[in-house]
């Protein structure tokens, strides 16, 4: 009998385990409770003539209610402790807008963005406008090669601001004019030049020049590229417009972080991404940029 038991018991356990292996071994666990918080975000450029802030309330992933925009918030901007602007109306588009009719410019001093709401603790973040970008554009007609064809070459030189970690967002477009100093036509192209410069960190579409960073190393950043257009062959006059925004460290961190989030998508093998925040409750962002535009 003992010998029989020795075989019967393991056999029973084996059958039991086979059923578990096939059905899966699974246990439900408690869902962590979530305490809703304010998520505030505002990005301001020196060329902006108005603000568009987004204020929402966080919603637990496992909650069935929808994530919602938050009404009744009061938004304030301070400069060195002095109130600059205060606004509290949410537009039909879900943004808290403030229009002051002219470009705000790069305001000196410490800018504090503060959001209060009757149901939440007040949150805030502090930023400074970065110094305006100092850059040169060198244009060489037909000097570059673009997929076997002659192309205009642009060399951008972003000058170093010693001991400041500089980050730039670069936008370029090509506009057609009828004559020198003549009126702009409605025809233009947004340029997405490519660069192989490994000394700069590039955001956005991979390989397409959209944002660069010193990455903590004081240096002039020099970038050359073919525009894909050859001024000599065109019937119209071409005007290259370059708009470069110096980004605050936090705004650059937001761009990078959002890019990582975008890349990860729903890929289960991707590392989780925590969207950058500089707000006092670690949710949301406040960023400032200063833009300079040049034509060639």
């Amino acid at each position: 009998m003992k010998k029989q038991l020795l075989f019967i018991l393991p056999l029973t356990a084996l059958l039991f385990s086979c059923s578990n292996l096939i059905d899966g071994v699974v246990k439900e666990i408690d869902i962590p409770a979530h305490n809703p918080q304010i998520a505030a975000s505002l990005f301001v450029d020196s060329k902006d003539s108005g603000f568009a802030a987004t204020i929402s309330e966080t919603q637990g992933i496992y909650d069935t209610a929808n994530t919602g925009l938050l009404d009744s918030a009061v938004l304030k901007l301070f400069r060195d402790g002095t109130l600059l602007y205060s606004w509290d109306k949410m537009s039909p588009f879900g943004t808290y807008d403030y229009d002051f009719g002219q470009q705000i410019g790069a305001i000196d001093g410490e800018i504090v963005f503060e959001i209060s709401h009757p149901n939440h603790e007040t949150v805030s973040a502090t930023q400074r406008f970065p110094e305006a970008p100092d850059f040169d554009i060198e244009l060489n007609y037909g000097a570059a090669n673009y997929y076997g064809q002659p192309s205009d070459e642009i060399i951008l030189t972003l000058k170093d601001n010693p001991s400041v970690n500089q980050h730039y967002l670069i936008e370029m477009s090509l506009h057609y004019r009828t004559s020198l100093g003549g009126p702009d036509t409605s025809k233009y192209w947004q340029l997405e030049p490519e660069t192989a410069n490994r000394n700069v960190s590039i955001l956005g579409n991979k390989g397409t020049l959209s944002a660069v960073s010193e990455e903590g190393i004081d240096r002039d950043i020099k970038i050359s590229f073919a525009t894909g257009f050859n001024s000599i062959d065109e019937d119209f006059l071409l005007e290259y417009r370059v708009s470069i925004s110096a980004l605050s460290n936090d705004l650059y961190a937001f761009y990078k972080s959002y890019e990582a989030l975008d890349q990860a998508g729903n890929n289960p093998f991707a590392e989780p991404v925590i969207l950058f925040s500089n707000m006092s409750n670690s949710i949301g962002s406040f960023g400032l940029s200063t833009t300079t535009r040049k034509w060639k």
Binding site: N20, L21, K27, T54, L69, F269
Partner: protein
Amino acid sequence: MKNLLLALFCVSGTLSFAQTKTISGYVSDSKTGEALIGVNLWSPELKLGTATNVYGFYSFTLPEGKHVLRLTYLGYANQDFEVNLSQNISSNFEMIASENMLNEVDVVASEGSRIQEQVQMSKIEVPIKQLKSLPAIFGEVDIMKTLQLLPGVQSGGEGTSGLYVRGGSPDQNLILLDGVPLYNVNHLFGFFSVFNADAISNVSLTKGGFPARYGGRLSSVLEINMKEGNLREFHGDATASIIASKLTLEGPLIKDKASFMVSGRRTYLDLLAKPFLANINSQDPDFSTSPTYYFYDMNAKVNYKVGKNDRLYLSHFQGKDDFGVKSEESSIQNTNKIDFGLDWQNSITAARWNHQWSPKLFSNAIATRSLYNFNTRIINESSYQPNFPDTTGQQSENFAALYRSGIEDYGGRLDFDYAHSPLHYVRFGAGYTNHTFSPGATNLEFVSSGFNLDTLIGGADVYSNELFAYAEDEWTVNDKFKINGGLHFTTLFVEGTTYASLQPRFGMNYSLPGNIAFKASYADMMQFVNLLTNEGIGLPTDLWVPSTANIKPQKSRQYAAGLAKNLKQLELSIEGYYKEMDNLVSFKEGANFLFSLDDESWEDKVTQGSGESYGLEFFAQKKAGKTNGWIGYTLSWNFRQFDEINGGEKFFYTYDRRHDFSAVLSHDFTENVAFSGAWVYGTGRAITLPEFSFITALPNGLGWFQGQQAFVDRPSDKNAYRMSAYHRLDLSLSFHKKLSNYDRWWIFSTYNTYNHLNPFFLDASTDDQGNPVLREYGLFPIIPSIAYRIKF
């Protein structure tokens, strides 16, 4: 420093000897002739001792004159003998194993083998006999699973073979099989390790206090030696279990001069499944599927005593896992074939030459090759007949994605042991390794009507050259105080960049009243290889990558201190440690490696940061006797900090485990019936969960406009949550019978005996009513197994 050393001499009353002579030779097993590693040779009178090295060689320098010496080795009878050292003597010894003795009283740990006498701390040896008596899973005793039961060593969770030593990651363990680094130790996705216990003679794990001879990894050195093979008789050992069988053969090639050992193991799940699959496939003529999985490994070793002073060894290991699923679906118009597969393989080869230059000087030269490859394939072939009125005929589309990665090393090293005097045992040596890394390349092929694509994405090979040299001295300052000090120099040449590091190593043992040893150590380490891993998946898709011009080498500093004492047959130790790590490598947020199709290199996807771990380990071990085993407990904290992860905030490492407890017991009820059990408990793994969502504004630029908004899911802070605690009981009962020509065993065992769900991963989804639920999935319920073993 000079003053400090001088003071040590003065305060402690230095031992000194005028005239010395040396006795040297080899110690081997009396029955098999195999070398014995770590045998203690001890002078009770002088309270001095030495031990055989990994080749069984010893050299003991003593004052001229008569001495009584004692040989002690766990599981073997002590031997006392008298020598008259009027000149240098060469003498080989043979020891008798306890299983060949009637009186077990002789088999006790003697003074020479006491941990309280050893300078080395943070080192654990598990006797193979004890290891083989532990519960077997599917009839297989697994070395890595056993090591996971030791204090300071954690498993990565259910079904993984990786070791997480004192807060380190698995790539920080230098796993040496016969002195050759092995890069992947997993079979069956980590459920088994590649080490076949029947082919192994010795296992030791060093977690800290690394002597200068070790280098190249931050967290541990696991040394595993293959059996050399019986020099006197032919023997075999075979085991059949539910999923695999193995066979080991060993014997003399030339009696007492040359021997061989060969051992092989293969699973047969694929063979067993064939009839069932045939039955399933016969039920639907339009669909067939054929999943396959097998692994095999093979160990082989030959050794040859060329003369009195020279020995040659050749060892080889080869292992492979192959998993695949082929399916075919067909109808009148369409046919669709899918072939998905993963395979990975290890291969190492080592050729060694031992030479005794003089009674005091011994050398070992070794040439090695280590190869690890991982391949994945997805092949899809489809053909279809277009509908009328399209008369173009049969159309076809073929798609193939082949992913491969790997690492190949060629190396050599030369080590010397120099027994300078009774008080100084010096080791020095140097080595070189050439690495070729293939860090992941995807080959895409797409062929369709009128369109062909064949492209290779990423994965350019990286070559590097690594050099090291070391020197260390184990110095007996006096009968209470011993020191092991040394320097390890290492340098790497990669992509035009040179990294160099001079690493000080220090260990000491001071005997306190009550024969309690106070031990302390410091080790500075650097490593030039990194394993990129998606935490916790445990797939062999993990990628070995080198330090490069952009990726700096990992570094660590470890401080440890503790007390050790032998209490009769029990070894007791308590150790505290603190470890700092720099330049650790991790994926950036959002990055992944699996079938990455963009043009970024792997370097763009990783970031470097630091780590910190500290803890307290308690260990009580009884290695021999009818009842043996151990109890281990670790209390530890383990953190990581990366500027680009978790907002730059420090976070718990995923394998931070506050409490880790294990109890292991083996007991021989009679000569023929043996029982063993192991219970393990560990704090749940730290994990990141999706936590909440919100709406954010997007700044101008990159195609966004002012006022644009986006929904964002935000995970919890990195590793802010815990899985449920892990605990498991394994039991085993074996019945032995001695028959006329062979011995046989029936082995019954259960894994996870009380069927506890140990979480492997978490999943957030919805239940039948659409309510959100969070589920923990386990891998293994109770798994009973039976195995039959014969030894002849």
